[in-house]
Each structure stands twice: as C-alpha cells, then as structure tokens.
C-alpha cells in the first residue's frame, strides 16, 4: 500500500470529517434535550402558557443547534472541498 502526500491528505480529511460531525453532535444533542426537558417541566407547572413555552424552547434549541450545524459545514467542507 503506497501512502503518498495527496492520498494522506484525503485520508486525514475523511477521518477528520467523521470525527468533526460525530463529536460535534454530542453537545447539541444533550443541550437541546435539557432545554426541552425544562420546557416540559414548565408546561407541567403552568399548562396555560404552553404556546409561549414551546416557542421559547424552539428558539433556545435553534441557538444550541448552531454548533451542530458548524460541525456539519466543516465536515462537508472536508469531504468535498479539501
């Protein structure tokens, strides 16, 4: 098996893309789950505000999603641009 410059860069890029998306998915997954958990708790305490609470939950989750999307973008760049 010949390992040369270009091949090595591609190999590292593929492995890096997998690690980027995999590790990058941990934080948003846990964080969004916590946001939704607190929203459920708050709806349980005060069901009348369910609409407002769901909206707040979705906005908060969208913000914590952003790092997951950064990881996705970096992974796609590593796969198709490098």
């Amino acid at each position: 098996m010949a390992i040369e410059g270009v091949d090595l860069i591609k190999a590292a890029a593929f492995l890096g893309a997998g690690l980027s998306m995999g590790l990058g998915a941990i934080g948003p997954g846990v964080g969004e789950g916590m946001a939704a958990a607190k929203a459920c708790e708050a709806i349980g305490r005060n069901p009348k505000e369910a609409g407002l609470l769901t909206r707040t939950m979705l906005v908060g989750q969208a913000v914590s999603e952003s790092t997951g999307i950064y990881s996705l973008v970096v992974a796609l760049l590593l796969l198709f641009v490098v």
Partner: protein, 304 residues
Amino acid sequence: MGCGAIGAAIGEGYTAAQANFAISRNPSISGDVFKSMLVGQAIAESASIFALVVAMILLFSNFSAESYVTIAVVFSAGICMGLGAIGSGVGSGYPAGAACIGMARQPSMSGRLMTNMLIGSAVCQTPSIFALVTSFILLFTNFAGRPVSPTWAAILGAGLASGLGAIGSGVGGGLVAETSCEGTARNPEMAGTVTNVMLLGQAVTQTTAIYGLLVSFILMFKQFPAADTIAPAMALLGAGLCMGIGAIGPGVGEGFTARSAVQWIARRPLAIAELTRSMLVGQAVAESTGIYSLVIALILIFVI
C-alpha cells in the same frame, strides 16, 4: 469487557444506594425493596454478562492471525460489546433505584412498579443487544474473500458504530424509565398512561442506536472494492466513528426530555396533551444532530 463492567457497576451501585434509602424510609416493606433491588441489579448485570460472553469467545477460540482482517475482527468485536454494555448498565440502574424508592412510598403498588421497572429496563437493554448482535456477526462471518485494504477499516467502523451508538440510548432510556417508576408510585391512577408515554419516549431515544446498527450492517455486508490507497479505508473508519459518537448526545438528550415529560404527566395529568406534544417536538429537534451524523456517515460510505 473492562468497559462493559464499568456501566454495570455504576448502575448496580446506584440501585443499591436507592434501595438502602428506601428501606430506611419505610422499613416494614424491606422484603419487597430487597427483591426489587436484586431483580433490577440482575438486569443491569446482563449487559456486562453479554460482554463477558464475547470476551470468553475471543479468549478461547483459535484465531489464526494470518491477516490484518482477523485482527480487526477480534479487536472490533471486543470494543463493540464493551462500549455497548456501558449505557445499558448505567441506564438499567435508574429504573431499579426509582422502583425501590417507589415501593417504600407506595407499598400497595409494588407489583405494578416491578412490572413497570422490568418493561423499562428491558428497553434499556436493547442497545446492548444490538451491540451483541454486531459482535456475533463480526465473529462468525467469513471475511476471507474480501480485499484486506478497505475491509479492515469497515470492520473496525462497524464495531465502533454499534458500540458507541449504544451508550447514549442505553442511558437515555434509563432516565425515562426512572421517572416513570417514580410517577407510578406518586400517582397510581395514572400508571397505565405513564407506562405508555415512557415507551413512546424510550422509542425515540432508541432511534440513534438503530442508526448505529444500520451503519454497522452496511459496513459489514457491503462488498468494498480493493484499494491501493489509504483514503477509502479512512472514509469507512470515519463513517463508523461519526455515527457512533454522534449517536451519544441525542440519545442522552432525548432521554432528559422524556424524563421530564413523564415526570410531569404523573404530577399534572390534565396537561398530558401539551406535555406529549412538546416532548415529541423537543426530541425531534434534539434528534437533528444524530441525523446529520447519519448523513455524513452515509456520504462517507457511498459517495466518497
């Protein structure tokens, strides 16, 4: 095996601590609590027994280490089952602990609590069973006819995808089952509903483990063409790592969400519709990063 023992030990320790607490709270039902503790610990233990079985097979079979593929198979099967047992061991400890506390609180419900705990822990065990299936397929498939170069990476990737993918779902499923045992004790009239919502929430937490299983099946059963370069092999290894690690976060996060939803359904049954809806919406958003990982893993396998 080492990794597998960690999870079971943590889970069983948690159960025993909760059981002691429960007995001190209500000494008159110490028999029931003790029984439930032992049953719960037995279930948490089963994940590490799976790991033991795989370790025994690895130790006592005669592998002729003539190629790198065999080494990859042995390594991958061990890693897969070891990692896969962590989550289920920890997860099964939660419902068992909550069931012990619940029995002390509401002795008349101890039968129902035991049933609920068994259903909940059985669901926690499924990811470790996925890991067991993957290890067995790896051990008993003949990879002799495949080219060495990308196959070793596909095999390692398959083990990592199932093994790592099982951690999150095992823990997440346990968190849901914990509050459902608590809810059954707190509000016995809602026991049926609480069990149903628990199963719904657990089903969503299991999805990422199923993605991991899917990716490892593709990696094990697809015939990859021989490659002279190292890049295709790294793409397959990357796919396994991506899906395996990416499944941890959503599994745990969805578990947190469903845990709260189940807890509050028992406390405030009138809000059940709002709670179930917001649980599913919240879980769907938490799932998104797991789906990104699946997409990247599939691109690495099929497009690159």
